[in-house]
């Protein structure tokens, strides 16, 4: 794309101020990027707890350009939140809430929707980060005054986080919020171009948007989007860290005693944004006077976000143990990236109820055990986690079929540690016996 070499206009007194007015163009371009990359990611992603992480890994490792497109979507959402906020600030600066009400309200709504989209999108890869962010969302909803219990149940789709919760976040992320964002964007575009259009202004917006896109595209070539270990394979030491647009919330929640988290994390920002949206009416009587309320809310937000974000960075850097653990996680992630992709086993419904042909693994082994121990009991490696092979396991002490059935019910009693977990609630005794009988036949 070509950019004009000469400045757009020499006669304008303050060129910087004019370029400051191009936040809308940047927001528009970033929204287009989110829509395009989001649609593409949906071609491979599967919203279910047993496949989400595998499909995102597949996008990262196997699909051509997958890593770049996912990085565009991931970092684009963070840049979008930043520019949506700057856009609100800029409109406030130019008193848009007085004479351009629709533009103002649309900007505040977009900010809310962009944050909602990012919040729901965070859960989708179902890695450790996603799981913890879902937990935090659950806690924030549950702590709301009056409606907390119901809000939590409705968000989760049940009493605990499950694959249903992931489906809900998926539907909210790819259908509900994009539709609302599209509606608001079209509304503001129609409104914008029904007024007298200053084309040099529109072009300035377009140039700014284009430049930001180039910067984002280059950034994403260098930095892939993070993907932590799968939610079910996470170790106890794992330290989850949210994306840049939620660091303020993460850091604030450290300072606030449990019960008040929802007030600070949801109610305060909600009331603040509501005040901003209602500013055209709140300031009706005093158009010329300084809208003190708006200033307080915006300055408060800006100060809050900047200080807590900086504090989050500093506290991670200062504590040597945290610093070390985060470095270890980064090393694990880059090691994981260089490992080959392992397909996830998938059983067709026809086969689920029956055992496969003689000599083959029982279907329930393939369903529950093969992911970690391999389809033929050969073991596997995920990141730095090594899953032991089961070959010749029958020759070891305390591994008779009866022992294995007990072990499946209570792994710690046999000295096994997570991620090996109890299958007492998943398998019947008979099913465990079937798996155990097959496992002891495995030979190197």
């Amino acid at each position: 794309m070509s950019l004009p070499a000469e400045p757009v206009s020499d006669k304008q007194p303050n060129r910087l101020a004019l370029w400051m007015q191009s936040t809308g163009g940047v927001v528009a371009v970033l929204i287009v990027v989110q829509f395009l990359t989001g649609v593409l990611l949906a071609f491979y992603y599967v919203p279910s707890v047993d496949h989400a992480h595998a499909t995102v890994s597949y996008i990262e490792k196997i699909v051509s350009s997958g890593s770049w497109l996912r990085a565009l979507h991931h970092y684009g959402s963070q840049w979008l939140a930043l520019f949506a906020f700057l856009h609100v600030l800029r409109l406030f600066w130019s008193k848009a809430y007085v004479d351009r009400r629709i533009g103002w309200i649309a900007a505040v709504l977009l900010l809310v929707l962009v944050i909602a989209a990012a919040g729901t999108g965070y859960s989708l890869p179902w890695d450790a980060r996603a799981f913890f962010s879902t937990r935090v969302a659950e806690g924030l909803m549950g702590g709301l005054p009056f409606v907390g219990r119901l809000a939590r149940l409705w968000l989760l789709g049940g009493t605990s986080i499950s694959t249903i919760t992931l489906s809900r976040f998926f539907a909210l992320h790819v259908l509900v919020t994009p539709f609302l964002i599209l509606a608001v964007t079209l509304w503001v575009i129609v409104w914008r171009f029904s007024r007298k259009t200053c084309w040099s202004n529109v072009s300035r917006n377009a140039i700014a948007g284009g430049l930001v896109f180039v910067a984002l595209a280059l950034w994403c070539l260098k930095y892939p989007a993070p993907l932590g270990p799968a939610a079910e394979a996470v170790s106890a030491e794992y330290l989850p860290r949210p994306g840049a647009q939620f660091l303020w919330l993460y850091q604030s929640l450290k300072y606030i005693p449990g019960g008040l988290g929802s007030i600070v994390g949801v109610v305060f920002p909600g009331v603040g944004l509501l005040i901003l949206a209602l500013l055209p009416w709140l300031n009706r009587s005093a158009k010329s006077r300084t809208p003190l309320l708006g200033r307080v809310v915006l300055a408060g937000f800006a100060l809050w976000i900047v200080t807590t974000t900086i504090a989050a960075h500093l506290s991670d850097r200062r504590d040597p143990r945290t610093h070390e653990q985060l470095a270890r996680q980064a090393a694990q992630e880059s090691a994981w990236r260089s490992e080959p992709f392992m397909p996830t086993s998938l059983q067709s419904s026809q086969l689920r109820s029956q055992t496969s042909s003689a000599g083959g693994a029982p279907v329930l082994y393939l369903k529950f055990c093969a992911d970690c121990h391999g389809a033929h009991g050969e073991g596997a490696q995920r990141g730095t986690l090594k899953f032991p092979p089961l070959l010749d396991v029958g020759a070891k002490p305390r591994r008779t079929p009866e022992d294995i059935v007990d072990l499946l019910k209570n792994p710690p009693a046999y000295g096994l540690q997570p991620p090996m977990r109890s299958f007492a609630d998943k398998l019947t005794d008979e099913q465990m016996r079937e798996i155990a009988a097959w496992v002891v036949t495995l030979k190197k």
Binding site: V29, V32, L40, V63, S64, S65, W199, G209, G210
Partner: protein
Amino acid sequence: MNKSRRSFLELLPFGVLVGVVGSISGAAFRFLRPRLSAAPDQWLDVASVSELSGSQPLAKKVLAEQISGWAISTEEHNVFVLPAKNQVLSPVCPHEGCEVMWEQSRNRFSCPCHESFFAADGSRISGPAPRGLDALPTRVQDGKLQVQYRLDNEQERATHA
């Protein structure tokens, strides 16, 4: 503002949009391009040769491991063994790909979709199917009849050629 400058300014936003959409589309083409997985020529056990006899086609099931993108699955396929001819027929109708069934009482295969009928040896009797049922590659290993399951022999041959 002169006219050419104005039209340039009007075109510029579209230029930026084309640039953004274009660069993502380039990646999208590679991203969405179907992955040609080399057909794994697995030999699948059908049955022991000793248990295959008679003049009737025998319905058997074979289990094939299939990798599709991120998923690995065990697919169950039906095949028909012709003990007399030592052949294994694919159940896939060469018309539109539905699976035929064996009608014992009328001694023929019938396709449930568009009423193609095939004789007990797989040859076409009537209906829209262009040819008889395809025979799959077979071999005998350690007393077991094995088969390579392919969805469409004709197409397979065409892509291999």
